[in-house]
């Protein structure tokens, strides 16, 4: 079993999602290679060579890989896949992996298994369907298995000493049909939503974008990432990349605090792996209470400040003791 993982990076460093993808790759086979297509990507290559369990890093460096365009990265992967024998090719089910992997599957004439949550056997995988209301166990029939994997379902490979062989490969030519015009990063300086230990998420109940910012001191106190329900994103209270749920981010924190979120099934699909769920909602009938470990029925505009005060008081007591 030789597994090719398509690395996601910003040329400077490797994305955490790729460490989880390597975790999934090691469940498929022992010999794991990383393909890193980038431009001026020395930093990312250094990271890649330090990932535990990766035997070889294949580097394709050329300007057409600067922004990870799916057309070019997939062409590079297909070139590598014709030159080496691989049993599996996979990436994390991030927006990058979701864009690139099906193009590879099309080139291999293989059926892609999307958003794998468990590797049962090298050809048998579990994946959620119907917004996580069901889990299908499927057997892939193609000679090369093409997968995207849900990052939070697999432990991250550790970064250690540089141990992998780094090998340059001939860059595949630029498809020349697409180019990146601009990139807008939402800078928050907070923990990454998909890998945060604590997530504080807000919903329609917050009522406005200004009120949504009430979550910030709470998140600061807890060292938490901030998330949002689709309703909050649709209403413009929070940016799109904070959306948690079926079509947004899947999170698996130790603690998920849902503030003013009713708990539509599409939202619950994104938080099923949270260890402890807390819900604050004034509607005692809200479906979120059906999955919450702890609930407070009350006005969030009273509860959030009280919670903040209780946490701060608790922190001060701890300092005093």
């Amino acid at each position: 079993m030789t597994v090719l993982v398509i690395a996601e990076h910003d040329n400077v460093s490797l994305k955490t999602a790729t460490l989880h993808a390597v975790g999934a790759a090691r469940a498929c086979g022992d010999d794991v290679h990383l393909l890193l297509a980038g431009h001026d990507c020395g930093g990312a290559v250094r990271d890649a060579s330090r990932v535990a369990g990766v035997a070889r890093v294949l580097v394709a460096a050329a300007p057409q890989f600067a922004h990870g365009l799916a057309e070019n990265v997939a062409a590079q992967a297909l070139q590598v896949l014709t030159q080496h024998r691989y049993t599996h090719v996979l990436a994390a089910a991030s927006t990058f992996g979701k864009s690139v992997m099906p193009r590879i599957a099309a080139g291999l004439d293989a059926g892609q298994i999307s958003e794998v949550t468990r590797v049962v056997a090298p050809d048998i995988f579990e994946r959620p369907i119907y917004a996580g209301n069901a889990f299908a166990t499927v057997q892939a029939l193609d000679p090369v298995k093409v997968l995207t994997v849900r990052a939070v379902s697999f432990g991250a490979a550790q970064l250690g000493d540089a141990a992998a062989v780094v090998q340059d490969v001939v860059p595949a030519p630029d498809a020349g049909t697409s180019r990146v015009v601009s990139i807008e990063q939402t800078a928050s300086g907070r923990a990454d939503l998909a890998s945060a230990r604590v997530v504080v998420a807000g919903g329609r109940g917050l009522g406005s974008g200004a009120n949504f910012r009430l979550l910030e001191p709470l998140a600061d106190t807890l060292g938490a990432a901030i998330g949002a329900s689709r309703a909050a994103v649709d209403a413009g209270f929070a940016p799109n990349d904070l959306q948690v749920g079926q079509t947004g981010k899947i999170v698996a924190p130790a603690l998920y605090i849902a503030i003013g979120i009713s708990g539509a099934i599409q939202h619950l699909a994104g938080i099923g792996d949270a260890r402890v769920i807390v819900a604050v909602n004034k509607d005692a009938e809200a479906p979120i209470f059906g999955v919450a470990d702890y609930g407070i029925v009350g006005d969030l505009f009273d509860v959030v400040p009280a919670l903040l005060a209780a946490l701060r008081e608790d922190g001060q007591q701890q300092q005093a003791a």
Binding site: A70, S178, Q246
Partner: protein, 249 residues
């Protein structure tokens, strides 16, 4: 310019599906069906492009059983000019659907194909990308804005950590994300008018495409149930529980 919009018939987004007790699948008997919400957004976007003078014709296409005519009528109610059903009773996986759509694209020669980023039944999120690769076209996935200018389309994409704007040479494939638009309410007169629009039905098998499944579903399970939790009276009690009962803070 012609726009092709593939649409899928799926379980209505408001239905909570149940897994069959024998684990063979989900129970779809007597369940309300509808156009995939992301495809509805795609039809709306194509219609707006036509209304703005960027497109001359919007063609909706669906693959599957005869009942898929419903969602083609919905698409025509929103504004598609005509519909094509590639009819088959076979279970279609994304690779087979993309191959069928690629054949139709070769016949219809659209400059733009817009479809939903994922279907809310299998949640695969791959048909648009597969189709783009098969045709050798560029793709703009997870679109929150689409602007056609001359020989290119500029797509703003919702990506992890923000937004990215790409410019694609036409012909191209765009997959619609939630923020792209809010589909219009389809009035009764529009639906009546849609009934008179042309709908071609052809057996999918006649396109000479391999429709064989590439994976077998061995079983389908219900997700693990969370135990019902407890209500706590106030914030102080909550902090106490989080600290001493479950040790998460």
């Amino acid at each position: 310019m012609k726009i092709l919009v593939p649409v899928k018939r799926v379980v209505d987004a408001n239905v909570k599906v149940r897994v069959k007790p024998d684990g063979s699948g989900v129970d779809l008997a007597n369940v309300r069906m509808a156009i995939n919400p992301f495809d509805e957004i795609a039809v709306e976007e194509a219609t707006r492009l036509k209304e703005a003078g960027h497109a001359t014709e919007v063609v909706a296409v669906s693959c599957g059983a005869g009942a898929c005519q419903d969602v083609l009528r919905t698409a025509m109610g929103i504004g598609a000019d005509r519909g094509i059903l590639l009819q088959t009773e076979a279970e279609l996986q994304p690779l087979a659907v993309a191959r069928l759509l690629a054949e139709i694209a070769r016949k219809e020669m659209p400059q733009l194909i817009i479809l939903g980023k994922q279907a809310i039944d299998d949640d695969c999120n791959q048909t648009g990308q597969l189709l783009a690769a098969m045709l050798g076209w560029p793709q703009g996935t997870f679109a929150s804005s689409v602007r056609v200018d001359g020989a290119t389309v500029t797509v703003t994409r919702d990506v992890d950590g923000g937004a990215e704007t790409v410019q694609l040479a036409l012909p191209a494939v765009v997959t619609a994300d939630l923020r792209l638009n809010e589909p219009r309410f389809v009035s009764l007169p529009s639906l009546m008018k849609a009934k008179k629009k042309r709908l071609d039905v052809m057996p999918a098998e006649t396109l000479g495409v391999d429709l064989a499944p590439r994976w077998n579903t061995l079983k389908v399970d219900a997700p693990p149930q969370r135990k019902p939790g407890t209500l706590v009276p106030d914030a102080a009690a909550l902090v106490h529980c989080l600290k001493h009962e479950v040790n998460v803070i």
